[in-house]
Amino acid sequence: MAQKKFVVGCFDDEATLFPAVKQVRNAGYKIKDVYTPFPVHGLDHALGMRETSLHTAGFIYGITGTTTAISCISWIFTKDWPLNIGGKPHFALPAWIPIIFELTVLFAAVGMVLTFCYLCQLAPGVKKHHFHKRATDDLFVMVIECTDKTNADDLQALLKSNGAVETETQIAEDGWWFGTYDKEDDLYNQKQLA
């Protein structure tokens, strides 16, 4: 995973966060994410994030489940091992509907949970960099990824002028990693040196 440079601005109020998001985006910076203590309605729209495709993925998983169930049961009961159950036809669709339904739900549910975890980079034993210790506690933490052209000091000043209570520049691990938070200590030392 790559280490990147970020500018972090902390806000203590939802009401100052929204105008700040607007100002920062208008100034041409690309906001990586905003970490909030609670779900904030409308923030995704303010950040200009695209709609999630999770439901489309869920639909595809569901269809996969349906297909698996139909093909599996019909093959078993008509070709592989036909049984006479209560004089019903071998292709007894009404009796299969509950199982088809359950498998559709199972595939969709498990598939969506796993996809969601992957997209959010969540898994057992996996670590991610925390931009601020109070990020999900009581602070709204806005993180902006720096490019070659970004002047971190200008950006910090912009955040401050829009009501940020705390700003800083960090070099941090961008993705997720297996292991411990040792890496973070290394980064902390690096920052001290710099």
Binding site: H41, H55, F59, K88, P94, A95, I97
Partner: protein
Amino acid sequence: MASIKEQFEIPGTLKTWAYALIGIGGAALLYGMFTKGFSTDEHEQVHFWGTLMYNTIFWTLVCNAAMFFICFSTMAQAAWMQSFRRIAEAISTLVPVFGTITFAVLMYVVLGDKHHIYHWLDHEAVMNDPILKGKTGFLNPTFFIIWTTLTITLWSYFGYRMRKISSEADQGPMDADTAKAYNIKGMVGAGFFLVWFGLTVASTIPWLWLMSIDAHWYSTMYSWYTFASSFVAGMALIALWVIYVKNKGYLELTNQEHLHDVAKFMFAFSIFWTYLWFSQYMLIWYANIPEETVYFKHRVQGAYKPIFFLNLVINFLAPLIILMKRSAKRNFTLVAFMAVLILFGHWIDFYQMVMGSLMKEHVTLGWLDFGILGFFVGVLILMVARSLASKPLIAKNHPFLKESIIHHT
């Protein structure tokens, strides 16, 4: 809120349409009544009274579903529906009207001893039939009449009380304590209606009015099936009126967010209806006991086969495929189209529930059905529009209104 148009004025074209439908439908109804209803041929009689019965029961239950929607929302302290609650209230004012027609028709059938519709009215046959004899404690004219009277009266009365409580929000701004007391009052009123609704629509009334047509047959799913059918049609009717009134430039506070939730109800309860449809069908199919399969024999293998499966396509496949996407539920045109389709679909559902048992040999769908349907739709349009115009469109001092305005789905 100065720019809010509070007073609904009935558009002239709507009135023309309503009168035209009432005129044509009423003519068909009267013609049918004298040529078929009062004819000496029992077959013709059953045709007419059966057709009138399923229409009037369907529209009564659908209008009652609007009051059910208000009551369970009030009970759950749901705020999102406040911006258009007067629409649902206006629809529910039809319960006493259609309820009276239903009552009259049912009384004619029961007191007029029409045992070709309700076989259990034939006293001699019942006494020689161990199954029907065992049911006489429930299926007898006295209980039928008392319970029907009580049901329609209390639906109307509890509904009236809920509308009265709603009107109190028009009197003036409320302080916190008044608003709290007002909220509790609404929940108590809703509680009375909901308990009575559970005892009637969700259990006894479909057994008495509809299931007893097949006097020997019974299904434990039947009442829920009927409830689901009428409720999803009721939500479709609310959606249709909301869209119409908004289209005329009213209901400024109702937007896509509210439509999305109404359409979710239409989608979810279409699936719920299918769940009950299937549960009823599969258990009977699997057990394959003649006493139970008798209900499906002429529906799945007889004359009613096309209607029986058309019913499933309109009421399950179409809502499933079309209403599944978020953008579809937020599209006024598409939801209006689906609302009409669902209303028609469940009307067809009620058709096959009643006429599928009364006229087993052939499908009778024709001028009489559509004529009577036109009459009921005409009355519905006219009276809903009138009661909409009699009250402000927004309960502007309701404590929950603000929450409804900022509703976000």
